[in-house]
């Protein structure tokens, strides 16, 4: 059992690095075509193929992770956030391969791979220990529900990727009117958000590598459903230096950081979710590190990121991107319906005696579904193509990510993955 788990965790590392190499190959394919001595088309094909092979090798390692962990844990690894995000990464690569071979588009990988890399890295933020299944999760329907839903969401992710390339491809940097400036702003803003996500990963892994630790004792006062006041004292641990300490708390221990020995601020009282202080502190750190990274990039390339990326996209046909984005979403939609709604309802009926209970996660799955059905209606019946449809695909993916992760972190409910210590 332990051997399997060891193989599994080694395979993740292999997969992660292969994905990174694959991304580098793709980046060379996209960015280097104008500097290479050979024909741009041949250059793209050559490096695109190298990227594809590396991605395939990475995916094979990722599958080894999945099945080895399955063998080691005795149940399919989709039952906590770590396992779930890993499964999402695997599914995204599968969706990428499907779309890549359907459209034979050599450069999609240049954007699909970084997204997968971010997801895999993000998964590693969460505790990766194998947990025994709580009774409710021990069901064949759980497996069907999660795997099918994740596959649908993976196609949405590929649709998002193509939409993002389309946005970067068609943003017009020569326009100076209001609409043109707005288009530029939002294209850049999207990239900034992505850099902030990377900033989050840098901050978390950086301080984790440095072994940073701070601890607080927090007193919380809640009122239960019967009106009784409950006072609780709990210990909150931080892995990032506390810019914001938990509300109503005192420091137990704190490693100094850059001369900072005391928390600078206190989390406002209205942020009162589980571990609100720690989460807020992490958000603040992500923004700081992300903006620093962004500033550094701007200093190096001396122009907006979107503008720097655009020339590399010259050879890509916007109509193709539009079609790819739409098709990926269309392929994902029935899978998502089946996995995230139908199988979920069947499971809920068996496990919780009702197929629908307006649990936050259920509601957000419905919101995702409603959003993509609006997308399809706007596209098919009202002729929203190109840039408008691309922005919808981007917003849709934001909703997907909120449903997958945001709900778990911000809103508690049945899907809080109980049993995670």
């Amino acid at each position: 059992m332990t051997d399997w788990l060891q193989i599994s965790s080694n395979a993740v590392i292999v997969a992660f690095f292969l994905y990174c190499f694959s991304f580098i190959a793709y980046a060379v394919a996209v960015g280097g075509s104008r500097f290479a001595n050979r024909e741009p088309e041949a250059h793209r094909r050559r490096w695109g193929n190298i990227g594809l092979w590396l991605a395939a090798a990475g995916w094979a390692a990722h599958l080894v992770y999945f099945f080895a962990r399955w063998a080691g844990a005795g149940h399919i690894p989709v039952s906590n956030l770590y396992e779930f995000l890993m499964a999402l990464g695997i599914a995204m690569m599968l969706a990428f391969f499907v779309i890549r071979f359907a459209y034979r588009h050599p450069l999609l990988g240049a954007f699909a791979l970084p997204l997968t890399i971010i997801i895999v890295a993000y998964a590693s933020v969460f505790p990766s220990e194998v947990q025994p299944l709580v009774p409710a999760l021990n069901s064949i329907w759980l497996r069907l529900h999660v795997t099918t839903a994740v596959l649908g969401e993976a196609f949405f992710a590929v649709g998002f990727t193509a939409a993002l390339i389309l946005i970067l491809r068609v943003t017009d940097f020569s326009r100076t009117d209001k609409a043109g400036r707005r288009a530029r702003f939002w294209a850049e803003f999207t990239l900034v958000v992505i850099v902030i996500v990377i900033g989050f990963l840098v901050a978390v892994f950086g301080f984790r590598a440095a072994g940073y630790h701070a601890e607080f004792r927090q007193e919380t006062v809640t009122v239960d459903a019967r009106g009784n006041v409950i006072e609780q004292e709990s210990t909150v641990e931080y892995g990032l230096p506390p810019i914001f300490k938990p509300y109503n708390s005192e420091t137990v221990s704190m490693d100094p950081f850059l001369g900072m020995t005391e928390p600078l601020f206190e989390t406002p009282s209205w942020m009162n979710g589980v571990n609100a202080g720690r989460k807020w502190n992490t958000v603040v750190w992500s923004v700081i590190v992300g903006l620093l990274l962004y500033g550094l990039l701007r200093l190096i390339i001396r122009k907006p990121l979107a503008r720097a990326i655009q020339p590399a996209l010259d050879g890509i046909d916007p109509d193709d991107l539009d079609e790819i984005s739409y098709r990926a979403i269309a392929i994902g939609f029935p899978l998502f319906t089946l996995g995230a709604l139908v199988f979920a309802m069947i499971w809920a009926q068996i496990a919780w005696s009702r197929f629908w209970g307006w649990d936050p996660k259920e509601v957000w799955a419905l919101i995702t579904w409603l959003f993509y059905s609006a997308y399809l209606h706007l596209r098919l019946s009202r002729g929203w193509h190109g840039i408008r449809s691309a922005w919808l695909a981007v917003i849709g993916f934001l909703i997907v990510m909120f449903t997958l992760i945001g709900v778990n972190l911000l809103i508690a409910g049945l899907h809080s993955y109980a049993g995670v210590s």
Binding site: T2, L5, A73, G74, Y103, E129, V130, Q131, P132, V134, P135, A136, N138, T222, V223, A225, R226, G227, S269, W270, N272, D317, D319, D320, E323, R327, A330, I331, F333, P334, T337, L341, V342, M345, I346, Q349, I350, A351, S353, R354, F355, G357, W358, D359, P360, V363, W364, L366, I367, L370, F371, S373, A374, H377, L380, S381, R382, G383, V407, G419
Partner: protein, 554 residues
């Protein structure tokens, strides 16, 4: 203004028609004069919602038949649902006595506003249900408004189309051909048949079509959703379709399921924990719950069900180990493992009667906490049960009352009769639990009787108790088959409509010039590639991308 809707081909079209029903020529003069790609929605047919001079019914119809309205309804529902997840809904709590206070105290002013706006009951609110009903209306009317014209258009297609209709499709090829036009058309028909197209020819004109069924996908989806929504609505409306009750059972206890003729008995509740070799290294030695099980037997009452004076006659109808993810199911009635409480409770005791005057003991006798018999004979004595209190307490007048029906602090009033006792007997209050005996002062209450008798349990072997109370959720949901049917229909429609696409190819040859147009509702890529491949087989080499009509414009 009354537009002339008669086409130059002689066909009389209804008002609102965009493309002639017969030959496909754009009817609108402005549209006919341009050369933009034609909008092929519903093949340009007139729809009911485009009727001139609408009356009020038409106006309602027109409102709900608009996709724009449908999208707005979806977006509003989506936003409302999102608001409903900001704070927990009231329905998430079992015992919320003062919701307003709860939201104010836990979430501050925002919480109070949230509650005051009714957002804490979003999903039961009249406006949310109204939104659902409106979406339902939109589903029906949008579908009817479009499916009938589309059906008519697709079942009576004419092979020979107007040249403008062909050359203004998404995918177009125009070029010269060699040889006889009819022979070429026949050969091309053969090529397309091999690609599984259904081909019809009319001299030197051709219409090839495949996967028409995928056009019905959206309507099948909408039918499925309607069935689903109606099923959900019905279960709230039709009496007896929906029931949601809870039953708490101690081990060995039998309870009637509220509002039914069924009784359920627990043969025991059990918690299983993961064994050490099932747990990963870092969790070994910890208690991790693997499964909750209630061994349950379901009985149906067959006689004396409503007769308070007699015990109902029960017949066993089903038995099942109810677990999480494995309910007991019998004729639409389902019993789910819902919760449990660790509340040790007496099931029965076997006390002994001690005659203090002689020092002799009699018994023991069996005394169950629930449904105790009315008389007991113990040695020479007879005990008559006058009263029993499952949870003994005193009211404001100091009179004994029972606080609940659960045996939390059971007490029994016996009248002891027998040799050397007055004819009317001696009353005696008995608390089986030692703690209650002390708390309420059994001997003090019994007074003189306590001098004569003692009733007590001699050893723990004479006590049977239940460690847990298992809570079962009992459900009847007769709408479920329809809910699942609706979901299945929706899935079939989705697969039909999305994983297949309807493709049509028209061509005609005029004076040695081939004009070919092709249309699909989805995946132009695939259609272009297919047309290019077919043309290549017929000897015309053309890059698939060059077939894109919009590309040529720009």
């Amino acid at each position: 203004m009354i537009r002339n809707t008669k086409c130059e081909c002689g066909h009389q079209n209804p008002v609102g028609t965009v493309l002639c029903e017969a030959c496909g020529k754009p009817l609108d003069e402005e549209l006919a004069a341009s050369d933009s790609v034609l909008e092929m929605r519903y093949d340009g047919m007139a729809r009911r919602s485009q009727k001139p001079h609408p009356n009020p019914v038409d106006r309602v119809w027109n409102f709900f038949s608009s996709v724009r309205v449908a999208v707005w309804l979806i977006v509003i529902t989506l936003a409302a649902a999102a608001l409903g997840t900001v704070f927990p809904q009231e329905s998430a709590f079992v015992n919320l006595t003062d919701p307003a206070a709860y939201y104010r105290e836990n979430y501050g002013t925002i919480g109070a506003v949230y509650h005051a706006l009714g957002l804490s009951r979003t999903f039961e609110s009249w406006w949310f249900i109204t939104l659902m009903v409106m979406i339902g209306a939109s589903l029906v009317i949008c579908s009817l408004d479009r499916v009938l014209p589309l059906y008519r258009a697709l079942t009576r297609q004419q092979v020979r189309k107007h040249l403008q209709f062909i050359t203004r499709q998404q995918v177009v090829y125009v070029g010269p051909i060699q040889g006889d036009a009819e022979a070429w058309t026949a050969r091309f028909a053969e090529i397309l048949s091999r690609k599984r197209y259904k081909v019809r020819t009319d001299g030197n004109a051709l219409l090839a079509e495949k996967n028409r069924f995928s056009r019905w996908g959206p309507y099948v989806i909408h039918i499925g959703l309607i069935v689903f929504l109606l099923a959900v609505l019905m279960r709230g409306v039709i009496p007896g379709w929906y029931m949601d009750e809870y039953v708490g059972l101690d081990d060995g206890e039998i309870e009637q399921i509220p509002r039914t003729g069924y009784f359920v008995k627990s043969l025991g509740f059990r918690i299983d924990f993961y064994s050490d070799d099932e747990l990963p290294e870092h969790l070994k030695g910890q208690l991790r719950v693997k499964q909750f099980t209630t061994k349950a037997v379901l009985y149906e009452c067959v006689a004396y069900c409503d007769d308070a004076t007699r015990e109902p006659e029960l017949k066993e109808v089903a038995a099942h180990d109810i677990r999480v993810n494995s309910p007991l199911s019998y004729r639409g009635l389902r019993l789910y493992q819902y919760d449990f409480a660790e509340a040790p409770r007496l099931i029965s005791v076997r006390p002994t009667l001690v005659d203090k005057r002689t020092g002799q003991s009699y018994g023991p006798f069996e005394l169950p906490m629930r449904h105790p018999p009315l008389t007991y004979s113990v040695g020479p004595f007879t005990l008559e049960l006058r009263d029993s209190f499952p949870e003994f307490g005193l009211d404001e007048n100091g009179e004994p009352v029972t606080l609940s029906r659960e045996p939390n602090a059971p007490a029994f009033v016996f009248v002891i009769k027998g040799p050397g006792l007055p004819e009317e007997g001696v009353p005696y209050l008995y608390f089986p639990r030692e703690a209650d005996r002390q708390r309420f002062g059994q001997d003090r209450i019994n007074g003189a009787a306590a001098e004569m008798f003692d009733i007590r349990v001699m050893s723990m072997e004479d006590v049977e108790f239940s460690t847990y109370t298992s809570y079962l959720n009992v459900r009847v949901d007769r709408g479920m088959p329809y809910v699942w049917t609706g979901a299945a229909i929706t899935m079939i429609g989705l697969v039909m409509g999305i994983y297949w696409n309807h493709r049509r190819i028209w061509l005609r040859i005029d004076d040695g010039v081939l004009s070919l147009g092709a249309h699909t509702n989805k995946n132009r890529f695939g259609l272009r590639a297919e047309v290019a491949a077919a043309l290549a087989k017929a000897g015309i080499e053309v890059d698939a991308k060059m077939l894109d009509n919009r590309r040529k414009e720009s």
